[in-house]
């Protein structure tokens, strides 16, 4: 029989406000096995923990029940307390009387009643607890970063700095991501390329970092410290190690009319291409959908002009298998499609553009060589209207927009407006905004400068519709402060499109078994306290894949994710979760049912010799669980027809006891 101590936490008034903690600790005193019951204001505080330790010693407790907040919050805390008091940490059970009781029930009586029942269930369970010792597993000292934007680059550099090898997988032919497409960065107006490209070169030159560009992760198996990953290196029909990036092939390629993705289709590239001058790796790639040689076998010009002989039309996709200890997701974002926003005439006029397109238009390496010219006729626009929150904060229709605030649009629009007025002071610039959200260091000062020094006209209101008429865009909008409807003849309309997670994130999340929210952003293990970890151990989050972020925030999160990875890789061994399945070999019939349901392949069979009652021996096939591989889901325990399989920490008898306690 256990000697159980019950500790009821008030959590200030969080629990005590709706639950009569005194009554709960009194009621639980008489439960089977309970030898001590107390309540205290903050059980998780130093004093509360000392109280538990003292009670363990004084009353020779063998099991502890803490009636407090969610075990997801403080189970680890109280397990440490138990360990410090000399108990096995797995002799602690938590009754969740805050999140699932005091916070959701308003009435003192029902709250107290439920808290008592939850306490009884926890006591019933702890009575059947057994000490558990976690197993150990080795750590592969190599990290994988998925996505080569600024988030991935920074994470990889930081991990490599600590001396661990890192691989970056990027689906585009070059790393750099969205930041490589930007012109200037707010609020300092550094040129994006000037601060990004040195980092890209650092990545290329770092001996610890390998770049798999034009590649995708296709399969992930394993667990924290021991991931087996398959990476598909797509055929680029150019031998990466031989190509010097001289660009002779690009110049001579006769297929010149392929929309250039890097400039968002605003100009053309060749079928063989290098996305931009500072690309890393600076290697040509052949677009198989455009290349005449690959489609019809007619051409071969690039192979003829390549002095290095790097062109290989027969190249095949290659699968690389590698082991990793940690995985960082840095898949980033994309602007949403503007197709559903007919009112802004995006698909009707070339002069209605998104902010990312505007970014390319003003970039010196962009389609207009940095001159702000209208895409339709190449003329200089004199009146520009910026529209904020296009698709952001849109709760009316899930197919059209996103309910969340995209966070970066207010600032980049202020930047665009300011830079336009700076370069072309004769331009009228209007910004229609709902709220100007500028919470960041020097952000509001920046936005005010756009208004006060550069004369950008910020108008509180929204654009209702844009109608192309002749070479003008008729903009109808509201000015809520003047209480007027405005009609502006604009030359260029720029839409601050909402941003959404990259489409590759969802299948990747499935592979990694990392959870996502309804918007396909990765969820963090804890929104405040563990913001760069995914709930799946060994998977970390960096950048906009977790939520909309600007560059400074992305870089700091990338560094944080890197430090978590370094912390993991610095360990030689990981202590595993002891709550794993185990088979009672006396009951096991060796039927293989459990092996078939195990998602991790943790169950194998051995032939074992058993001594029979008549002193003969018999060889039987029985299941054996590998505790390092088992993740403790319990699928096998239900599948087992003989009842031999059970899950430590969540034994059949324990859950049954909980059911009984609740249904009493």
């Amino acid at each position: 029989m256990q000697r159980v101590g019950v500790f009821v936490c008030w959590c200030g008034s969080n629990i005590a406000g709706t639950v009569d903690v005194q009554a709960v600790s009194e009621a639980l005193k008489n439960e089977p096995g309970v030898v001590y019951s107390a309540n205290y204001q903050y059980m998780c505080s130093q004093a509360g923990q000392e109280m538990i330790k003292a009670a363990v010693k004084e009353h020779r407790l063998t099991g502890i029940v803490v009636c407090s907040c969610s075990p997801r919050m403080h189970e680890a805390t109280f397990r440490k307390t138990a360990a410090a008091a000399g108990l096995n940490p797995y002799m602690v059970e938590i009754a969740n009387i805050r999140e699932q009781c005091s916070w959701v029930h308003k009435d003192m009586m029902t709250g107290t009643e439920k808290a008592i029942i939850l306490g009884k269930a926890a006591i019933a369970k702890v009575n059947l607890n057994a000490p558990l010792t976690p197993g150990e597993s080795p750590v592969t000292k190599r990290a994988l970063v998925i996505g080569g934007g600024i988030a991935g680059i920074q994470t990889a550099l930081d991990i490599a700095d600590a001396g661990f090898p890192v691989d970056i997988v990027e689906k585009q032919p070059t790393i750099g991501g969205k930041m490589a497409q930007l012109d200037k960065t707010f609020p300092t107006l550094d040129c994006a390329a000037c601060i990004l490209t040195p980092k890209m070169v650092d990545v290329a030159q770092n001996e610890k970092i390998r770049i798999f560009s034009y590649s995708e992760v296709t399969d992930v198996h394993g667990f924290v410290g021991n991931f087996d990953v398959k990476i598909k290196k797509k055929a680029r029909y150019v031998k990466e190690d031989i190509c010097t990036g001289c660009g002779a092939c690009v110049e001579k390629c006769p297929m010149k009319k392929v929309p250039n993705e890097f400039n968002l289709g605003m100009d053309n590239r060749h079928a063989i291409y290098i996305p931009f001058a500072q690309a890393v790796p600076k290697v040509a790639t052949i677009d198989p959908n455009a290349c005449n040689m690959l489609k019809n076998g007619k051409c071969g010009v690039c192979a003829k002009v390549c002095a290095a002989g790097a062109i290989d039309y027969k190249q095949k996709d290659e699968i690389i298998e590698e082991k990793y200890g940690a995985i960082v997701v840095a898949t980033g974002f994309n602007p949403i499609s503007m197709d559903k926003f007919d009112e802004f005439a995006y698909s009707q006029s070339k002069d209605v553009i998104t902010s990312l397109e505007f970014e390319r238009l003003t970039n010196a390496a962009g389609p207009s060589a940095g001159k702000l010219l209208r895409p339709s006729d190449g003329k200089h626009p004199h009146t520009i209207v910026f529209v904020q929150c296009v698709g952001s904060r849109c709760a009316a229709c899930a197919e059209k927009g996103k309910e969340y605030c995209s966070k970066i649009c207010c600032m980049y629009t202020a930047k665009h407006a300011m830079l336009t007025r700076d370069k072309y002071p004769d331009t009228e610039v209007y910004v229609f905004y709902i709220d100007a959200r500028t919470p960041g260091k020097n952000f509001d000062e920046f936005y005010r400068r756009a208004v006060e020094e550069y004369g950008v006209k910020y108008i509180k209101g929204m654009v209702g519709k844009v109608v192309p008429e002749g070479d003008k865009l008729k903009v109808q909008a509201s000015d809520l402060i003047a209480n007027k409807q405005l009609h502006i003849d604009a030359d260029l309309v720029v839409l601050a499109a909402a941003i959404e997670p990259d489409k590759s994130a969802r299948p990747l999340a499935t592979m990694l078994t990392a959870s996502m929210d309804t918007n396909d952003f990765f969820t963090e293990a804890h929104p405040k306290l563990r913001p760069v970890e995914s709930p799946t151990a060994g998977v970390f989050l960096s950048g906009a894949c977790q939520g909309p972020k600007d560059i400074p925030e992305t870089v700091s999160q990338a560094g944080a994710a890197a430090s978590k990875v370094i912390g993991l890789l610095a360990k030689d061994k990981l202590t595993g979760n002891p709550c794993v399945a185990s088979s009672n070999e006396l009951m096991c019939n060796g039927c293989s049912t459990c092996e078939r349901v195990c998602p991790y392949g943790a169950i194998t069979y051995i032939d074992k010799e058993f001594r029979m009652p008549d002193r003969t021996t018999k060889i039987r096939r029985v299941a054996v669980v590998n505790p390092a591989v088992c993740q403790g889901c319990g699928a096998c325990t239900v599948a087992c027809p003989s009842g031999a399989m059970d899950l430590n920490g969540f034994k059949n008898s324990q859950i049954m006891a909980e059911v009984d306690a609740i249904c009493k």
Partner: protein, 144 residues
């Protein structure tokens, strides 16, 4: 027991990674649901042995709900698919035994869906309460 005082007894099995976190989120957001719902934490919805559900009904539970991650989001990759198939089989058997279908339910609640958790529990409790006390499987030996 008077009819208007009748409180159903509902056991909810919640997987540790999604639904239990969803229930915590409902708590964080103070979204009320009936106190009749008592939650048992399991690592994965596939840990729920049909025996537990039968035992609950035997001991006088009026409704049992199993909550897991959305299909495709299971922390253990495929656990909730097992749950879905096992429970389909079990519920049809319970149906055969005369336990109304509204007394049992499988619901997918993610860690971000605190509101859905509360709404589900409110709805389930209401439906179970409408059916009244469950006597069909009650084990008289368990009566005190």
């Amino acid at each position: 027991m008077q009819v208007n005082e009748y409180k159903p007894l509902i056991v909810a099995f919640c997987c540790n990674w999604c639904s239990y976190a969803g229930a915590d989120l409902a708590g964080n957001n103070r979204l009320a649901y009936p106190a009749d719902v008592k939650i048992i934490r399991v690592p994965c919805s596939c840990r729920v042995n049909p025996m537990f559900i039968l035992r609950a009904f035997q001991r006088g539970a009026d409704g049992v709900i199993i909550c897991g991650c959305h299909p495709g989001d299971c922390h253990y990759t495929s656990g909730n698919y097992y749950t879905r198939r096992r429970m389909a089989a079990l519920f049809s058997m319970l149906d055969f035994l005369g336990i109304e279908r509204a007394r049992t339910r499988v619901e997918w609640v993610s860690a971000a869906e605190g509101a859905k958790f509360a709404a589900t529990m409110n709805d389930f409790a209401e439906k179970v309460a409408a059916l009244g006390e469950n006597k069909r499987l009650e084990d008289l030996r368990c009566k005190k």
